[in-house]
Amino acid sequence: MMNPEDQLNDDFLRRLLQETPLESPGTDFVSRVMTGIAPVPAIVPAKKPLYLDIHTWWPYALAGAFVVLFLLTSDLPYSQFIPGKEYFSHTLMPHFLAIFSGLKNIFTGSKSVSIPLIIIFSGAFLFLLDRVLFRRFTTTHLFFF
């Protein structure tokens, strides 16, 4: 006796139903739809933080394993980052000061250069921050930029 799954695979009924074509709308249907979408603004893919797109556990596990592997095998003196404010004030601060002083020189050098520079610099910084934190880096985004 045929099981219920096999009964559904009824070739006779399938062929019989396929002898009649599907119903089709009017001949100008496609052009009517295309006219309808013309005034609609361009579609922008939904913004989604990357972590919302990852529905499985393994990318997180892989990333975690990579970090652990990096820490265990790296020659970088990352333990020196622990010393706290002394490390910050003696090692990092001079670098920051050098960067700020350089930027200050650029921005205060001449009014005609510094204002556009500030705008470009701030815009680029915010854009990159947005891309890195909240969006996927795709060729489309690069193209628009």
Binding site: Q7, D10, L17, Q18, P25, F29, I43, P45
Partner: protein
């Protein structure tokens, strides 16, 4: 006309080439229209709703998750739009009496149908289909005509996979019953 995979056109549309959407409309218009027509039973309404379905799909294309099939996603929009239009409630699950004893075999009906010429066969089928509710017609179209899988039909209609199977069994039996009674009447 030969079409590329849906995803090819979707990428183009999402990259600003909205004209590529015409290929998607051309490719899926008949099944979308058939789904809506089966539910609404009015060509005029079906044209209007099918058009709305494609507009809605275009506007939401950015939210389409490429992991699923575009056709299933689109047909689900069509099914929901048609149901909303009629404000029909989903037909409740009707359990099938597994012990129903039929006084004919499907082989018998198939044999009798084969004896008919194609035109008469289509007439019998068309009349038998008319006797079925719209939702049953829709499931037959999706499964046998458009060759969607049980999983896809479940995604389109929102029914569970087991429910789709049970319904298809019931509809298939009912259709054979109708075709049998029509042929018996004709012979008598």
């Amino acid at each position: 006309m030969r079409f590329q995979d849906d995803i090819y056109y979707i990428e183009k549309v999402l990259n600003g080439e909205s004209a590529a959407y015409a290929f998607l409309v051309e490719k899926h218009k008949n099944l979308v229209f058939s789904i809506v027509l089966k539910v609404l039973n009015s060509r005029e309404d079906a044209e209007e709703i099918a058009q709305d379905v494609f507009l809605k799909a275009y506007q939401s294309l950015g939210t389409f998750e490429k992991k699923s099939k575009f056709s299933t996603w689109l047909y689900r929009i069509a099914y929901n739009a048609a149901i909303s239009k009629t404000r029909k409630k989903k037909v409740e699950f009707v359990s099938m009496d597994e012990h129903t004893i039929l006084n004919y075999s499907t082989d018998e009906v198939t044999g009798n149908m084969h004896e008919l010429d194609p035109e008469d066969r289509q007439k019998v089928l068309a009349r038998a289909l008319l006797s079925l509710p719209e939702e049953d017609n829709l499931l037959l179209t999706l499964f046998y005509k458009a060759e969607n899988s049980i999983e896809d039909i479940s995604g389109i209609t929102g029914l569970s996979e087991s429910n789709v199977k049970v319904k298809l069994h019931r509809i298939r039996k009912k259709l054979y019953e109708e075709m049998n009674s029509m042929m018996t009447k004709t012979n008598n």
